[in-house]
């Protein structure tokens, strides 16, 4: 979707609403998968779009818009994660495991994986979310996070290893 509002000046509400609808799932999910907290994720997503409204005329293309949204959303997630750490809010590891419903094993597995992702160190979490939510290859992730491709690859490997170990440990308990 091309940004049709750059030349005409301030964004019209209807145009902006279209932008929000087009990208809300991506922004909300980045925040949700990073923090594993729907309320916080919605708050962050709203903030990201409010910021977008101020800068929308500076964005030159839809690709630019998407990378801008990803970058701002992840930065806000990191800030929120660190703020929570400072306030010693309950860590995801400390919360009880979801009770496995007999009927929907897949749903239970997905929820458990999301919780495990949220326990990874912040850089690994970003790499995993961009890789498996956004389906970006290591080169794109490296460009988005401004880090070397090899770092992305090694972090992906280590993150997957940690997730497997944690998943195995959970299974065993």
């Amino acid at each position: 979707m091309a940004l049709s509002t750059t030349a005409e000046g301030p964004t019209r509400t209807s145009d902006f609403a279209e932008l929000v609808e087009a990208h809300q799932a991506m922004v909300f999910s980045l925040a949700y998968h990073f923090l594993h907290d729907r309320t916080a994720a919605e708050e962050i997503a709203q903030d990201v779009f409010l910021e977008l409204h101020l800068h929308v005329n500076e964005l030159e293309s839809s690709e630019h818009l998407i990378s801008w949204l990803r970058r701002v959303a992840l930065n806000r997630c990191i800030d929120e994660g660190r703020r929570r750490k400072r306030r010693r809010e309950a860590q995801i590891e400390e919360l009880p495991e979801p009770i496995a419903p007999a009927a929907n094993v897949d749903q239970w597995t997905h929820e458990r994986l999301r919780r495990l992702v949220a326990t990874l160190p912040e850089h690994m979490r970003m790499v995993i979310v961009l890789r498996y939510q956004e389906d970006l290859d290591p080169e794109d992730i490296a460009a988005a996070l401004h880090i070397p491709v090899n770092t992305v690859k090694s972090q992906l490997q280590r993150a997957l290893q940690m997730l497997r170990e944690k998943a195995g440990a959970v299974k065993r308990t």
Partner: protein
């Protein structure tokens, strides 16, 4: 863990991390937060009228001039007040010393 298992794990991860829509009414809530914060479009369309622009420039010029004049007046008034205070101080000292002279003269006259 073989490749098939590894693929399975990544597949599950991908499914777990699939994009999710935010709760219903998300866009409406964003737009509602946007309303009070939305900056006024600038410049205002009516400012495109040359006569209005000139009027505004003139009004601004007059305001600046009036402000400068008032500042000068206030500074002059403060300087005048300081000078007046100095005169008062000088005359008070003069008065005190004349009082002293008078007291001494009276004292001698009474003797």
């Amino acid at each position: 863990m073989d490749h098939r298992q590894e693929d399975q794990f990544e597949y599950q991860l991908k499914s777990a991390l699939h994009r999710q829509e935010p709760p219903n009414g998300f866009t409406v809530r964003v737009l509602a937060r946007l309303e009070p914060a939305r900056p006024e479009p600038w410049p205002q369309p009516w400012l495109h009228l040359p006569s209005l622009r000139w009027a505004l420039a003139c009004a601004l010029g007059i305001a600046v001039f009036a402000g400068g004049w008032m500042f000068q007046q206030e500074r002059r008034r403060a300087e005048g007040e300081a000078a007046r205070q100095q005169v008062m101080l000088a005359l008070r000292i003069t008065g005190a010393k004349m009082q002293l002279a008078e007291a001494r003269v009276r004292h001698l006259s009474e003797r």
